[in-house]
Amino acid sequence: MDKSQGRVARDTAGELPPVVTHSGHRGLQLEEKLIFEQGVPGRIGVDVPNPPQGAADKLGAFARKEPIGLPDLSEPQVVRHFTRLSQKNYGIDSGLFSLGSCTMKHNPRLNEKMARLPGFADIHPLQPVKTVQGALELIDELARWLKTLTGMPAVAMSPAAGAHGELCGMVAIWAAIKAKGEGETRRRVLVPESAHGTNPATAAMLGFTVDPIPADARGRVDLAAFEAKLGPDVAAIMLTNPNTCGLFETDIKRIADLVHKAGGYFYCDGANYNAIAGRVRPADLGVDAMHINLHKTFSTPHGGGGPGSGPVVLSAALAPFAPLPYVVHGKDGFRLVETKEAGAAPFGRLKGFNGQMGMFVRALAYMLSHGADGIRRASEDAVLNANYVHARLKDVMTPAFEGPCMHEALFDDRFLKDTGVSTLDFAKALIDEGYHPMTMYFPLVVHGAMLIEPTESESKDSLDAFIASLRHLAALAKQGNQAAHFHAAPRLTPRRRLDETRAARQPILRWKPAAPPAPTAQAAE
């Protein structure tokens, strides 16, 4: 056995200069050019069979004659390119992802396996329904789980994401208002200042006037301000619960009762449903519509920004207005309703085809795995983890509100006062520590906000290590004279801070071939 193998070589020569490599690579941090800078005509990464001989040409005058401009590469080049790109990314598989409000929990690979079963992945959305009974059964079963967990009587399955779900819920509310003949008069939507940006954007898309409600000193809706804003022109309140400060809205039932009494509806932004799933049924809080981000609460992958899925549970008052298509169970099995039928008043279609089927399979795989007991336990652990972070950091960082919190712990930047270190600097330093930063400067109601959502996926050991890094950084910042150190962070990443102003002022949104060099006077001769 060669005992020299793997032994750490002790550097006895003292300080060495920084490593400068010839290639530009730095060990496992590999530089990678754009795919467009790597092509060589004549290479190919897919062997396409030859067309049958003698086939006619029916393109008419439409044949594309000009080159498209795509690069030609072989398969090993393409695989290496994207593998190298992947290594410049941080994911939940890499480490703790403290991004508040985004719920970066573990994405089980069982979900991926199930979604790829040919019986789900290889079915066309317009196949005769008798050939897709299992797909309709899956949608119906997922709908049953969502309805049972929330206590709501109906669910619209087609929205493609959370914001799309908000749109669905608010359109259903407007359809109900119109049906009552109040479409012209109820044009105001109340939105707390702490809301996600999608809430006011959705209301505005539908032509509603957005009327903000302030938060009180406890981080909840200011009840007096809310009551003062109620009136016969109020269509709805859009309220996130637990709210974006990570707090349960203690007056939520009163808010629901009051908005109902005023003739409006309660839209609940369900982005934070993962804190209460299995412990609280939104129906018991007076909710009329709530979207559920399957990519948050039910573990379908965020995938670098989608695809998501945002089914919307609806109260009995809104159920008749649910969008097309939807699944019903008749005497001959499942049916897909794609057009208006008697007794329903669907507000129309929200997207092509039948919803995010691939995400439905993943979410149901997750729900079946957990079961009702596991879902409840997951919510409890998510809340436990956030409170643990809150408790272990409250002496060195400054919690925005008193505990207990729900699934996320919110801090402000008071602890950084006079250190010259900003929330952004502090978060960027966390990157060098090997963590994805918390959500910064959101919610807007807290100064220099840092919103930490550990999720239930993190073990106590993992949280302890994360907390130790944050305590170290907080102590370092308070030590003084560290502003430059923090401002330079991150320094250990494939790229350091990027110039976002330049990107916006001189937008370069696509690769273009370098212009051929201008002909010199000689060449022109």
Partner: protein, 448 residues
């Protein structure tokens, strides 16, 4: 439970650190009457992987996958072969489990492929700029109409009679509730018929499909000129992006905005989702574009890098003044698209498109010989329409029992238009064989 790391001892230690006796104390802010005492009734409890595989496997087995039959279905969703390396890349955890790239220092992988994706989409469609993707073609079409409304400060969209009914219905829904007018022409093989007569000073845009819902290729240059004259934007929707490997792109025919369904490259049928909407436009409209945009810049050391940019258009900055409420894009589907198209390259895409076209013309030649069948489409890519002597939905239903998914019947797409009941829309791709085509023709002859 395998997804939850805590032991009971961990939970107790953590509760002690918090100063709570039980986890119930952490839920003290929930109104007492809304607290559930135990797990929600009526749902199953924790299951092993093996048990979940059995349950979902049984549901999957009740479906008949397109790959197990001779499938000729299109109408906005196409069955193509996806190389094995595409799914390998998509399942890498650094892509699969990452978030929207708000922290560019640790998301250069996502950002660089989005930059490559935007470039690919611009090149395919013949447009100047493209965004980082939308949910699907139908929602991208809605965003295009709303963008045209902003650019022109008008509020009427004219929809071609050969626009996919799902795209049309999605635009109509948004028109009803976002307050713009929609003039939708009735189903018509000639997707350009009747449009110019509706163009007026209120018109913000015209939406046509290319190839149209009947598979037909039509010259859009005359319409583009008419739109320009009327001060309206021409929006072109592409249902089958592989077609761009064979046909003149809309950008070369004067389109102002191009939207497309990108499912065909890199993505499975998935019963209709998730898909990936493509969105491209002329550069002068850049600041009115919806959705995420990725741009090139430099880092603190002067090295090239990529960031999300022009986010002052977006909801998380602009709130109620945003260009759209859209938050996510269709990241993983866009990645699959980018990887597959990188594998294909210029040469491969052209070969793939040529093969698709050849399979479709081979199919047409066979079906045209079946008694009673009339081919309706002249110039096309990989999809065309037939008129049958009887109800097409009944024919499709019967052929499904004979191992053939015989296309999409008019009655499925236009349930309220009896004039479309005998129309059948069929598509062929590289996944079909000549034997599939022979089977389809033989079985069709049997049932007609």
């Amino acid at each position: 439970m395998r997804y939850l790391p805590h032991t009971e001892a961990d939970r107790e230690a953590m509760l002690a650190a918090i100063g709570a006796k039980s986890v119930d104390e952490l839920f003290v802010d929930v109104p007492a009457e809304a607290r559930l005492a135990g797990p929600v009734a009526g749902l199953s409890t924790t299951k092993s992987e093996l048990e979940v595989e059995r349950i979902l496997g049984a549901m999957a087995a009740k479906n008949r996958p397109a790959g197990a039959m001779a499938s000729f279905m299109g109408s906005g969703a196409y069955r193509h072969h996806v190389p094995a390396s595409v799914d390998y890349i998509v399942q890498r955890g650094e892509f699969l489990t990452s978030y929207t790239p708000y922290q560019p220092e640790i998301a250069q992988g996502t950002l660089q492929y989005l930059f490559e994706f935007q470039t690919q989409v611009a090149l395919l469609t013949g447009m100047e700029v493209a965004n980082a993707s939308m949910y699907d073609a139908a929602t991208a079409a809605v965003e295009a109409v709303q963008m045209a409304n902003r650019v022109t400060r008008r509020g009427k969209a004219i929809l071609s009679g050969a626009l996919h009914p799902h795209y049309r219905e999605t635009i109509e829904t948004h028109g009803r509730f976002s307050g713009f007018d929609v003039a939708a022409l009735p189903a018509n093989l000639d997707g350009l018929a009747g449009i110019e007569a509706l163009l007026d000073a209120k018109t913000s845009c015209v939406v046509v499909q290319y190839p149209n819902v009947f598979g037909r290729l039509q010259d859009l240059r005359g319409l583009a000129a008419a739109c320009q004259k009327a001060g309206a934007l021409l929006i072109v929707a592409i249902p089958e992006i592989v077609s761009m490997g064979a046909v003149v792109p809309p950008g070369d025919m004067g389109a102002d905005i191009v939207v497309a369904e990108g499912q065909s490259i890199g993505n499975a049928l998935n019963f209709g989702g998730p898909y990936v909407g493509l969105f491209a436009a002329k550069e002068k409209y850049l600041r009115q574009m919806p959705g995420r945009l990725c741009g090139e810049t430099v880092d603190a050391d002067g090295k090239r890098g990529f960031v999300l940019t022009l986010s002052t258009r977006e909801q998380h900055i602009r709130r109620e003044k945003a260009t759209s409420n859209i938050c996510t894009n269709s990241g993983l589907c866009a990645l699959a698209f980018t990887v597959h198209l990188s594998l294909l390259g210029e040469t491969g895409l052209k070969r793939l498109a040529a093969l698709n076209h050849a399979m479709a013309t081979s199919l047409e030649a066979k079906l045209a010989r079946v008694k009673g069948v009339k081919v309706l489409t002249d110039a096309y890519f990989n999809e065309f329409a037939l008129e049958l002597p009887r109800d097409a939905a009944e024919v499709v239903d019967k052929l499904a029992d004979k191992g053939v998914l015989a296309g999409v019947p008019g009655g499925r797409l236009w349930p309220d238009d009896p004039s479309m009941a005998r129309t059948l829309i069929v598509a062929a791709t590289e996944t079909n064989t000549l034997a599939d085509i022979d089977l389809f023709a033989a079985k069709l002859a049997e049932v007609l």
